[in-house]
Symmetry: C2
Subunit: 354 residues, 2 copies
DNA sequence: CTGAAAGCGCTTACAG
DNA sequence: CTGAAAGCGCTTACAG
């Protein structure tokens, strides 16, 4: 490596030009009180003139502060281990930045228990050192209450997985759910003829207030209104146990011998794959969501044909990094970052990065 | 942010325990000469004991050296602007790390002119300050000669876009070409019936030595040998002008009125889309490669049905970052990083990140 | 073979 | 309202 030529740099140069000490420069840099308007204006001018950019390394090295980030996401549940993946993303980001004195405190709630969400938000709000927050706002009303308090305290927060636009988070990292449904629909249009029957299957305890499912379904239906139509049958399964799914599907498959394709609107597609495997039916195409271990197994066995996935690990990773960059560098962050909507099948699955 | 408690840290603590100065500690840390075996051993032991990790920020701040990276990739050509995208990735990485005294010097060669490649490698080798190199090894023999010289000089290099495994680069970032062909084939299996005719179309000046095309084609053919077969016709078009492509396709389409699908093995798929548009034929499915502006236009018009893409921008971005991390942190790098093989259609294209 | 000292570009008490 | 000085954890001449 070659030597760097030397020039008087940074705060020193500013101080020299403004004929003040570097401490005073530092004060205006951080907008701290105790500088006369006159010197402040002068220094600000020089900063602009020089297009001064602080050296982050030096700043970090000299500072003795720890940045405290908090996260609140669902814990993995009996129904799906989906939330393991975003948690990995949090760890990944944490590993990258812990050198710079960043701590991440992780809190979890139960997807099927609104009360647990409320309790966790209360636990978090007891802390006094919250510099930033990452949140999966599964319960909308409660998430609004929570983030309102954050705003009052001037704590920046980012949403992942689903958005609440009116809360004006620092950033949102997650899918565009409507287009996710459209993406599935467009693919399915290629896989079916007009006469083919398509089953849209929602499997979740609380479908009617599940924003994810509802929006995807809207996008899906919208697509087939605008494009060559298909015969679409919708079924809602509120009991997510395999026994219940099996019972319901048996009836459906029996009643509809020429069912061509089943589209499951979330990661529970593995339950359907298991059923199809058990009855030995391989001529029904099956499409679902999320790159999870048991889904991948069924994909490789040929029971699931396509998985749609929106990089849940990267969502959380980017969320943490956005908070970090905002707090550390005062960098502006992208308001909405929609994840790519990935189409995975048996032959490209081995290279997928979640 | 909360204050950090203070402990004696790093080189100072090591020096204290070893009863030497920090300069000596620094010497063994960097494996520099001039330390007695005895003190060296002692210091090494303490380093291990403490599980000492150097503070990169401090190291960077104190060092007055500039890291010099070189890149050699094709320039954009009349046939495709594909190579604009990796170049963006180089700029993206450069922007992130230029704060840390990294310079990236960019060299380009003409994809259709082997001599230009040789000339550029010679220009690069005239430099004496090469810390690392990123290379798209389009001409295999010449790339071997070049990287052999790099090895002699102890310069680490990474490959992008295509690999030469026996050269043992620091890393490779690019597609697994064989599986890329298989991915296209698997998708096409869903889009066709056994009786359908599929045209595999290679459009390039030098198909017979185009590693990319050949390996993709192998993967494609292999898939249909292992799985339910299709009638596949292969055509090689060595003249990449639109006039020539048009002429050849007119003949093919006329001779084969029930042609069902055309698969173009590289980014030249836009030429075929243009042709299909001109003759007003919308019932032939069209699949090709790469997320480039004119391809996307045809995708949105419904003339191209699917694009396969392997994140060329990210390839170059990761390549530069790998060199940087290796040189800066002495981090081990992944030998082979195969990019995901992405499937893009009209409805998910707007969220794709190249 | 080894060490004392200055410096990288900042932040942080402390003193006035 | 302002400045001098020490320090963050390293690297780099320089002296012996």
């Amino acid at each position: 490596m070659e030597k760097k030529e030397k020039v008087l740099n940074g705060v020193k140069e500013i101080a020299r030009r403004a004929k003040v000490s570097i401490a005073t420069v530092d004060r205006v840099l951080h907008n701290r009180a105790g500088v006369s308007e006159k010197t402040k204006a002068k220094i600000l001018e020089i900063i602009k003139e020089l297009d001064y950019k602080p050296n982050i390394l030096a700043r970090r090295l000299a500072s003795s502060k720890t940045m405290h980030l908090y996260t609140l996401i669902p814990e993995r549940s009996a129904e799906t281990d989906y939330w393991d993946v975003p948690l990995q993303g949090i760890f990944q980001a944490e590993n990258e930045i812990k050198l710079y004195n960043v701590k991440v405190s992780k809190f979890f709630f139960d997807m099927n228990d609104k009360q647990s969400f409320i309790e966790q938000t209360k636990r978090i709000l007891k802390e006094t050192d919250i510099d930033g927050l990452l949140l999966a706002p599964a319960f909308v009303e409660e998430a609004i209450t929570f983030t309102e308090e954050c705003k009052r305290r001037n704590i920046p927060f980012v949403f992942i997985n689903s958005d609440i636009p009116q809360q004006k988070s620092l950033s949102y990292f997650g899918p565009n759910l409507f287009h996710s449904g459209q993406t599935a629909a467009h693919l399915i249009q290629y896989l079916t003829k007009e006469a083919d029957k398509v089953l849209l299957l929602n499997i979740a305890k609380d479908i009617d207030s599940d924003h994810h499912i509802l929006r995807k379904q809207e996008g899906f239906m919208h697509y087939f209104q605008e494009n060559s139509p298909r015969t679409i049958v919708t079924e809602n399964l509120y009991d997510t146990s395999y026994a219940a799914v099996k019972k319901a599907l048996s009836k459906i498959v029996k009643a509809d011998p020429d069912l061509h394709l089943i589209f499951v609107t979330n990661s529970r597609v593995a339950l359907v794959a298991r059923f199809l495997k058990e009855i030995g039916k391989k001529d029904i195409l099956l499409i679902g969501y999320d790159f999870l271990p048991n889904n991948i197994t069924y994909l490789n066995e040929g029971l699931i044909d396509f998985l749609i996935c929106e990089k849940p690990q990267e969502q959380a990773y980017r969320g943490i990094k956005a908070l970090y960059r905002f707090l550390m560098f005062e960098e502006d962050q992208e308001k909405e970052y929609f994840m790519p909507i990935d189409i995975i099948h048996r032959e490209n699955q081995q290279f997928y990065k979640n």
